[in-house]
């Protein structure tokens, strides 16, 4: 990756030529729709409200930084915590007691925090190679799971690998570790459940590690997916033929995740006032999930990862150069969303149907929506013409 990816001069020239051509023919591009989707014609020049036109170059290093400082370390942290969870489950099922159960539950919560932060870049191999489904399908198939536990079917690594996605992953482990209302004690688990759990933990850790490898090293004979995003705009990159597409991918991932938070994770539960629609209802962890989704988008925006010491270079850096006030506004809206979520009384699963908590939940939803709107209306147009 020695050479810098620059916007080809020809594209800018073509853009310029196009403008000239419009003037010559006397029918310049009119109508907002054609201007809004003008592809790279404006080159790197951006008109900023309140100031004269500014020329800001989008540094493609932002894309490389996104994969290497955010995506890869986030996935690696998740894989490492999945290993810890698998180990804690094995220790618990070998010697079930209050302490070992507590350790396993806490390992689950930590793995969950890491996973939810990866949600805004859950594209690419996470979906194609089926990891997302195996790790985190909701709801669980309680009926089939109970039947399996009740049966005397042989439980092996191979049989667990073949289970339906609704019979494995985060929420099945959550169901077995926490019970349906977080009241589970070590003695409550049946021998069959104790037999199944470590197999689920190992299957989970294996998928988490494969996902991390798919980004950093490449799996199943495929190249590391980090390269696909990092080389956006270079010739031969069919997935991201332009730098714009790479930059847009970061923003779209954030919008997708924030939209899911506002519309589904909060919205649907609030609309139906039904705790059964809360995603991590067995562990009362839904609100924590949501906060980590927002934090994941924050990482993607700033271009850094919680524990990373590297200087951050992200979409934020670009926005700050073009429009510093907008960058500040977005950073504040991230903080505001997290603060509003902090004000929702725990457990979220009970607050959903508690009239006294409704205002705070709505305020949190509103704060996430506000952030989403800013990204959609103010940031996306900037990135269309980088």
């Amino acid at each position: 990756m020695g050479s810098q990816i620059r916007f080809p001069l020809t594209i800018n020239l073509l853009g310029l030529t196009l403008v000239l051509a419009s003037m010559v023919s006397g029918c310049g591009a009119s109508g907002s729709s054609s201007q809004a989707i003008s592809p790279g014609a404006s080159g790197t020049t951006l008109a900023v409200a309140g100031s004269s036109a500014t020329t800001v170059r989008f540094n493609p290093q932002i894309l490389r930084n996104f994969v290497d400082n955010v995506v890869v370390p986030s996935n690696n942290q998740f894989a490492q915590r999945a290993d810890v969870l698998s180990g804690a489950i094995a220790a618990f099922t070998k010697a079930p007691n209050a302490q070992t159960l507590k350790n396993a539950q806490s390992a689950w919560v930590k793995a969950r925090a890491a996973w939810e932060q990866t949600e805004c870049f859950g594209f690419g191999p996470a979906e194609s190679l089926g990891y997302d489904g195996s790790l985190d399908t909701w709801p669980i198939n309680e009926t089939d799971l109970k039947a399996l536990i009740k049966s005397s079917d042989k439980l092996t690594a191979a049989s667990v690998e073949k289970l339906k996605e609704t019979e494995k992953g985060f929420h099945v482990m959550e169901y077995l570790l926490f019970g349906t209302d977080k009241s589970r004690q070590a003695k409550d688990l049946t021998p069959r459940e104790l037999e199944l759990l470590p197999l689920l933990g190992a299957d989970f850790a294996q998928n988490a590690n494969r996902l991390a490898d798919a980004w950093s090293k490449g799996v199943e004979g495929k190249p590391a997916y980090r390269t696909v995003m990092a080389t956006a705009g270079s010739s031969g990159n069919a997935a991201y033929p332009t730098v714009q597409a790479g930059a847009a991918q970061i923003i779209e991932g954030m919008l997708g995740s924030l939209g899911e938070v506002a519309d589904e994770k909060i919205g649907k539960a609030l609309e139906k006032k039904d705790s059964k629609l809360a995603e991590s209802r067995f562990s009362f962890n839904t609100l924590t999930d949501i906060k980590h989704n927002v934090m994941g988008s924050q990482n993607a925006y700033i271009g850094t990862f919680a524990d990373a010491k590297a200087t951050s270079l992200g979409i934020s850096s670009y926005v700050a150069q073009v429009n510093p006030a907008l960058d500040q506004k977005i950073k504040q809206q991230f903080e505001a969303a997290l603060t509003a979520l902090d004000k929702v009384p725990e457990p979220f699963e009970k607050s959903i149907s508690d009239p006294k908590a409704t205002a705070s939940i709505k305020a949190a939803q509103e704060a996430v929506n506000t952030l989403q709107n800013t990204l959609e209306k103010d940031v996306k147009p900037l990135l269309k013409s980088v």
Binding site: N141, T143, G256
Partner: protein, 482 residues
Amino acid sequence: MNPQFRLSTRQFPKVAILFAIAAIIAIGLAPLLTHRIDLQTQDLLAGGDTTVVNRTSLAFSQPAPNLTDKEVKLHKEGDRGFGDTFVTAPAPVNAGLGPMFNNSSCTACHIHDGRGMPTKGSLLVRVSLPPSQSNLAGQLTAANSGNNLHQSSLFESQAEASVSLGNAPPVPGLGTQLQDQAIYGLKPKATVEINWHEKTAVYEDGTPYQLRSPLIDIILPNGKPLPPGILTSARVPPPVFGHGLLEAIPEGDILALADPQDKNNDGISGKPNRVWDVRQKKLVLGRFGLKANNPNLFQQNAAAYVNDMGVTNPLFPEKNDTSEIDLKTLNAVTFYTQTLSVPGRTLINDPTTQKGEQLFTQANCAACHIASIKTGKHPVKAVANQSIYPYTDLLLHNMGEGLADGRPDFEASGSEWRTAPLWGLGLTQTVLPYSGYLHDGRARTLEEAILWHGGEAERSKEIFRTMAKTDRTALVQFLNSL
């Protein structure tokens, strides 16, 4: 040239340079001037007013930008339905999976509203007995399983939406689709294993290429292979965006493109499929599905619910007329599939892309992959009266023995397939890396997909195979710009 125009040798270099500059500008401007209209309409607005320029993994998942606020709400409701994972009843949420199924949510197969992979859960196999001998229309077996005695005696445990004109009779005990998963305690109809057969061929310039075709091993619950003689057809899920627009193309305009007898002698026929409309209880034009075997999105979605997930619905209900999802959900999901935007194109200013487009036309690809067409009336205003660029005629064409599944579907023969829309094609690997092309996902690259074309497309395929490498690259870059 003016014969009086003379250049002195002294003036020559200066004038030549000026001339050269003028020529470069002229050459540069000419295509831009002639192409300018295209840039704003054809090239960018692939889906008319429903177009969104989004070249990311979520490119197929955007609501059309011309929906009203109320419609956006309905679209979002449909989006949730499309994403709902079904589980075995009884369950507090999303009960109704199975008893037999291929997968448990719409999105699990149509990942990010795009294709699926040729792997378990995504790839499905249709089966039927060899066609009966007598005439088709007289042999209409059923409208749906709910009132089909023949079917219901075979499937006590599951409703299956199966309509046939007698040329694809259900296989006793298997029906017309192999659900290779089942809820706990039941055995799936079959296990399906895919192996790939590789063969090598060469471009005219001597460059070798590999093509792979699937070898499908089907094992029945009794451990025996599927008896020989039963017709099978493997499919991967196609993308679902832009379908409202395809639904809104006036029937007459599609029929006008048809030339089943090839009367114009261009080697391209184009045949409409006539399929059973369950609600109207009559034969109508087929538009959706890889053999255009579904008439509209409501029926397409309802059939997918019941056949792919085992979820009964108001069109294909339980025997007692109840269903596992209600009409509101089915309508919302149908609306969702009608109102997903079409992605706008990319790299359209690139000369290689533009050259590729010319080559595409010259190779006669556009005879079936018709670039532009207009939509007409439609209950969903957003998709009505739009100029669109889907690159399909929605008609059936003989694609040759290499691609033939040998399984007829209504009027589609075993070697006929519906022209696949090409819009959004260049986003395939962005939305779902490593996914394949063609009906069973066999083609790993666009080159392979082209090289599989046979039958009516044999000549176009040969033009591609014998092109110079730079031309092949340009043509593929054009496809990737879609």
